[in-house]
Symmetry: C2
Subunit: 229 residues, 2 copies
């Protein structure tokens, strides 16, 4: 298996498959056909089979996928059978919203440290059991607690400076929530979260709803139609 | 142009192209080849040409795309040449983080209302120039201010209830930040934001970094390698 040949889009879809499989597991479904899983994930079944083919053989012809097995395999492929240590930088509203968001620990992402440069925030104990640390302790704490990913939640005008500091620590990955494109040297990976990309899709679908199937038009009550016209 | 035939992935990539083109426009670049734009967006150039072919002819052979024109066209396709009205529901840390995030207005998404059921929050004036309203006023305000998209930022255990209320107003689209899958009747569109999907990609790349090209390994300082082994 050659790592570099696996398209990023496949990796993103694998995450989605794993979320769907987890949801199905909760609903006590044991086996699912690639067609049904495809519908659930809003891709076509050939795509699922193609994505999984990068990593080996999955599923039983005519039966489908055993959810527990497939989920375990996808998590292994994605490296999610381990716990990842995250440090958050910037304890404003976004910082608190993220550190308290239950999706992170549920998926194996654990915040082990929080940083800010505001003297009024430094030292404040968090419900996670550690205090907010000053940025000057980033390197030391990153080593000590083995932080693998820095989550940047600072304002836009501080984010690049923070990213520069991160690249002087053993942390190699950055998840950036600040509304600015960050530049880091080779050997580091930055992913940027832009909520508006999903909004664009939503806006596109809403804008084209009236042109869509008659099924959905009949769903509209008269005053909604009137309002939208 | 048949709406239903355009894959969701194409729409998502169009958003990315538009973000890249905006960035290039800021850097005062006027024309770009599909190869360069492709590298910038981390897709292949055939993909860009294929995506744009759904909507007509773009670009000049041997020259490339005029950024200003292409950006205008993509925004027109996505329906982003208009301002979208958003209402946020749930004014905790996430609510404040989102309403203050500069990406939204920059991309034409304007928050025009905020809702919460906490009596301590209701009536509080926001820097956006309107107060936090009680949920009981959702329908009235949605009509009055023409809210088109509800952004749900409540805790998980309140989100479905809130979504049910939204479906009784003229609002047709929901962007959900709560860590729970929402169910809505046909005729409504929900998009779910799960930050951890991007983290999975990051984790995958970090986990495979050592197996990657020797270029990136040479970037590691000895103590980073030691630390990671």
């Amino acid at each position: 298996m050659k790592f570099s040949k696996i398209p990023t889009a496949t990796i993103t879809r694998l995450s989605r498959y794993s979320r769907a499989l987890e949801e199905l597991e909760k609903q006590r479904v044991n086996v699912i056909s690639s067609e049904k899983l495809a519908r659930y994930c809003e891709v076509n079944s050939a795509q699922i089979r193609k994505d999984l083919a990068y990593f080996g053989e999955f599923g039983v012809r005519g039966v489908g996928y055993v959810i527990k097995e497939l989920l375990f395999e996808i998590k292994r492929i994605l490296g999610l059978n381990k716990v990842w240590h995250l440090g958050i930088i910037g304890m404003g509203n976004m910082g608190y919203a993220l550190i308290d968001h239950s999706n992170f620990p549920r998926q194996g992402y654990h915040f082990v440290a929080a940083f800010d440069n505001d003297p009024r925030k430094i030292g404040k104990m968090l419900s996670q059991g550690f205090p907010i640390s000053p940025m000057s302790e980033l390197e030391e704490i990153a080593l000590e607690r083995n932080i693998e990913i820095a989550v940047i939640a600072t304002p836009a005008d501080k984010a690049q400076e923070v990213a520069n500091l991160v690249t002087r620590t053993p942390i190699r990955g950055i998840l950036n929530f600040a509304p600015i494109q960050l530049h880091v040297p080779e050997g580091f990976i930055v992913h940027h979260i832009d909520f508006t990309v999903k909004l664009d899709r939503l806006a596109y679908l809403l804008g084209n709803m009236d042109a869509e199937s008659p099924k959905s038009s009949t769903m509209k009550s008269p005053w909604i139609s009137k309002h939208l016209l």
